[in-house]
């Protein structure tokens, strides 16, 4: 990893953290409609993986999608405006938090349906394969989603057809209020790769350098026509399932340990300093710039207009004939 990559990763992780902190704060005031699922604490997964992706590569995401969007290059202003339901949002305010998408940067959408991303990623992989454009597709999904039928159907198709798809599980221990161990018969998600005869790897999802390494190999394999890989990143969501969740199912020790002892941003900061990738001043400057960018996004969203009434029935079809 070089200095440029280190500074990109540090910035992206900070952008996600700052973005989620702002969303959390503003959601509490009632200004953001609906519900939001925050990615704080899991930044290293999206960032470590997307570090290897280009605009022509696609990702599919989940209900907890802000982090994936930012890591893949979605515009912060457009994202924040979308979450506010404003016309300037990436989806013109019609999608909201759970449906942020930007095809230009290869972001195939957050998703309100658990398990919705697997077949979509397979489809993007199929396009890349047939169009021979060298692209890959990455499917981010939660530990809860690994029990959905689409997980099995999607991975099997990708493996059977040898498509350039990488499946990235974010095992944060819970699907809503249900522990991974209760809902999943396998010991690990990575173990399930055995059934599809593809590589399955477990990685510390709070160490962005480890995620970066594992993802590099998997994405290389996919690009070289060697087929899919299943990566399981172990992580923790420091917020509730959604904002307002009582989180009664979390243990006190986990709640204390994860955000502090194994915080992915702090870990990477130490790593970057130790390996002389970034100096203390540089880190501080990047932190400041990130804070500022997110604050600007909030301003932008605040000052944007709500969609015109006509938007209600626009874009249902391409053609109405």
């Amino acid at each position: 990893m070089d200095k440029k990559m280190a500074s990109w990763m540090f910035t992206k992780m900070n952008d996600i953290r700052n973005f989620e902190n702002q969303v959390q704060k503003i959601f509490a005031t009632g200004e953001i409609p609906g519900f939001v699922h925050l990615y704080a604490g899991e930044e290293a997964v999206a960032v470590g993986v997307c570090a290897h992706l280009e605009n022509l590569d696609y990702i599919t995401s989940t209900h907890r999608g802000h982090g994936h969007c930012i890591a893949k290059g979605c515009d912060l202003n457009g994202m924040m405006a979308e979450i506010f339901g404003k016309e300037t949002g990436l989806c013109n305010g019609k999608g909201g938090s759970m449906h942020i998408a930007d095809l230009e940067v290869g972001m195939l959408g957050a998703n309100g349906i658990v398990g919705g991303g697997f077949p979509l990623a397979v489809g993007a992989g199929l396009s890349a394969d047939i169009l021979e454009n060298g692209g890959v597709a990455v499917c981010f999904f939660g530990d809860g989603a690994n029990n959905h039928g689409t997980f099995h159907e999607g991975i099997n198709i990708a493996a059977a057809l040898n498509l350039p798809v990488v499946f990235v599980a974010e095992n944060n221990g819970f699907g809503e209020a249900t522990p991974f161990e209760y809902a999943t018969s396998a010991k690990t998600i990575a173990d399930r790769a055995i059934a599809y005869d593809i590589p399955g790897v477990r990685v510390d999802g709070n160490d962005v350098t480890k995620v970066y390494e594992v993802a590099e190999e998997a994405i290389e394999r996919a690009r070289n026509g060697e087929g899919p890989t299943l990566i399981e990143a172990i992580t923790y969501r420091t917020s509730g399932h959604f904002e307002g969740d009582n989180q009664a199912y979390k243990s006190e020790s986990d709640k204390e340990k994860w955000p502090v002892e194994v915080d992915c941003i702090e870990q990477f900061k130490a790593y970057a300093l130790e390996n002389k990738l970034l100096s203390k001043t540089e880190l501080e400057e990047l932190e400041k710039a990130s804070l500022k960018a997110v604050e600007e996004a909030v301003e932008f969203a605040h000052h944007s207009k709500v969609p015109n009434e006509e938007a209600l029935t626009e874009n249902v079809y391409v053609s109405y004939k």
């Binding site: 409609p33 449906h99 029990n147 209020a177 209760y182 199912y249 709500v306």
Partner: protein, 343 residues
Amino acid sequence: MARKITFSKAINEAMDIAMERDNKVILIGEDVAGGATVDHLQDEEAWGGVFGVTKGLGNKFGRKRVIDMPIAEAGYMGASVAAAVTGLRPISELMFNDFIGSAMDEIMNQGAKIRYMFGGKAEVPLTIRTSHGAGAGAAAQHSQSLYGMLTAIPGLKVVVPSNPYDAKGLLLTAIEDNDMVAFFEDKTLYSMKGEVPEGYYTIPLGKAEIKRAGDDLTIVAIGKMVQVAESAANQLAKQNVEVEIIDPRSLSPLDEDTILQSVEKTGRLLIIDEANPRCNVATDISAMVVDKGFDFLDAPIKMVTAPHAPTPFATNLEQLYIPRAETVVRTVKDMIGELTLSR
């Protein structure tokens, strides 16, 4: 004065009573208790459902009867069907009706058809509870009203309560019914309060309720749309227009007689359905009235529905998406004409 409780609590009470009366009744769904196998919780539930509707049932009846499921709707809905056929009386929760895509085969091809295909040998005493409706800012994949899709399926009964009293009585009936029943709960009604008796009572399926009597025009309104109809009716009454409001309560079976009798009296019919306008329950009721009561009609039947579009996220658009009283008032005036208004 009678006791007032929320729509949510009324539904909770119905399940509580049903589970007390019959130990074959079990509750299945995602996080219906929550926190399964979490050490510090012991057997305490963490959630009681994502909306808190099943709160307390896990603690009271235990995890053997209140079963949290993996996120696998096809798996547990199909299991619920066969559990019903083989001796249990499950209540199976589909958190949002929008997730029906993940469980449709189990509902449509298995549950709804088993009895018929088996020549009447099987019964499927399964109740599917699910939430529907826009207005919560939940966007396109969490806001639909899909009861019409299920009403189209033979072998499946469909219930859409509009208030706490009906919700409790209808749910108890649904659970006791020996056919599969889909029970739709508007998520924006969960906090609605209303008078609900304590203890056991039932309301039959296929029996509409006349919520308000009137001679000028009939409004059939589904679920939360009853409130829209009532608000429109109040405005219209000030202009001497008296509408009759009918809440069908169950869409399958449908109380055709009550609707037809009302239309025979008023000569005019407007239907309010929050679902999208094509092939919905409004078009279905309209077709029924044209078929069986054409001679009663003095004006074309009108429908007020959501547009033919997914539910938008932006609050201002979402408010336009949901049928509104002002649209109903305007439509009613058009139907009745100036003549009557100046009467």
